[in-house]
Amino acid sequence: MAKKLHDGAKQALAGLLFDGMTIAAGGFGLCGIPETLILAIRDSGVKNLTVISNNAGVDDWGLGLLLRTRQVKKMISSYVGENKEFERQFLAKELELEFNPQGTLAERLRAGGAGIAGFYTRTGVGTVVAEGKDTKVFNGETYILETGLVADLAIVKAWRGDSFGNLLYRKTARNFNPMVATCSRNTVAEIEELVPSIDANLVHTPSIYVRRMIKAASNEKRIEKRITRKEA
């Protein structure tokens, strides 16, 4: 089989990048983000990107790096509050923004990966989120139709991976990564540790979803809000 593990991010992304493409990225805040692949996408210079990600990074890390270089045309996110450059570009109308409720965004990515063209949810009924969307009544309650999302490229961060491409995530760094892994035919995973095998019963993302894989070169894992308690 064509080897999934590539030497570096540049090699793993070769042939997969083009201007105007849609990229889905895993992560919640700066937790579980594909740091290495984001840096490589920045360095590639690819532009006019539509990026699907729950958040938009901070000014100098994560997806904020692609905003700074003006490579992003549009974001599809649920919360973007941590990024001043984002705010500036958005207010200057240099950046398009589509807000999705967080659960709707997660479900749209799962649906896209699962061949579900659309689904009905109560989330957002009667709010701006419902504007322009079909509605339907089930058992006396109104639901709105949300559609599946697919991407030209999906990038995820995992904790452990085996050579087949099976992945394990760690704690809350799992977040959006499992659905993002499914929403594209071209999923590239960066893993912290390459392991000889993962117990088949405990795999989080089956190998079928991983087209290429690299060992992460960047594992900074910045903490946005370090809150501690005193030792007992």
Binding site: S78, G126, R174
Partner: protein
């Protein structure tokens, strides 16, 4: 004397029951965790993908892979589990969370809530707020009774963009507690902060409600 933030949170904690699964919003609602009665087992969920939130970590325990929905470092406890964002919101949307305590900018007398954006200010996004109010079985709002300009936050109609319609079951402010059953009929004033009178509440509330 009106309740302070921690007293408001303590009042909200009285809505908890043994065995409940609960999601706490950012801000004052996080103080509810510290007010769970001893001996009562309440399991906290955070929508970024954990059931069974522990306390903040000690310096040695800090783990960048373990945060809550407010992006704060946290810990796990016995019985915790992790899952994806899709699975987390399946749990929320599917009505498996018993109760959520949320902050709000405005609540309307029909149970509408606005807590995600102020037109003219930078919009940060709704995050999981719309999913929580649409999916959790019981929504308790914790908010100051009046805003900084003195206007009532419990109103006839919300003026800000809505987070959800007819979803609030209880409103706890620094002055009083309003509740209703089954998301039908008007809210009822069911409790006053110590030393606060029903007349005071009336005077500073725009919403119609039923007197106790």
């Amino acid at each position: 004397m009106p309740w302070d933030r921690n007293q408001m949170a303590a009042r909200a904690a009285r809505e908890l029951k043994d065995g409940f699964y609960v999601n706490l919003g950012i801000g004052i609602p996080t103080l509810v965790a510290g007010n769970i009665p001893p001996g009562m087992e309440v399991t906290l969920q955070s929508e970024n993908g954990i059931l069974g939130l522990g306390p903040y970590p000690t310096d040695n325990e800090v783990d960048a892979d373990l945060i809550n929905a407010g992006k704060e470092t946290i810990t796990e406890i016995a019985g915790s589990s992790y899952f994806s964002s899709a699975d987390s919101f399946a749990m929320i949307r599917g009505g498996h969370i018993d109760l959520s305590v949320l902050g709000a900018m405005e609540v309307a007398e029909n149970g509408d809530i606005a807590n995600w954006m102020v037109p003219g200010k930078m919009v940060k996004g709704m995050g999981g707020a719309m999913d929580l109010v649409a999916g959790v079985r019981r929504i308790v709002v914790l908010m100051e009774h009046v805003s900084k300009d003195g206007s009532s936050k419990f109103r006839k109609k919300c003026t800000l963009p809505l987070t959800g319609t007819n979803v609030v079951d209880m409103v706890i402010t620094d002055l009083a507690v309003f509740a209703r059953d089954g998301r039908k009929g008007p809210f009822k004033l069911i409790e006053l902060a110590p030393g606060v009178t029903a007349e005071q509440v009336k005077a500073s509330t725009e919403a119609h409600y039923v007197e106790a």
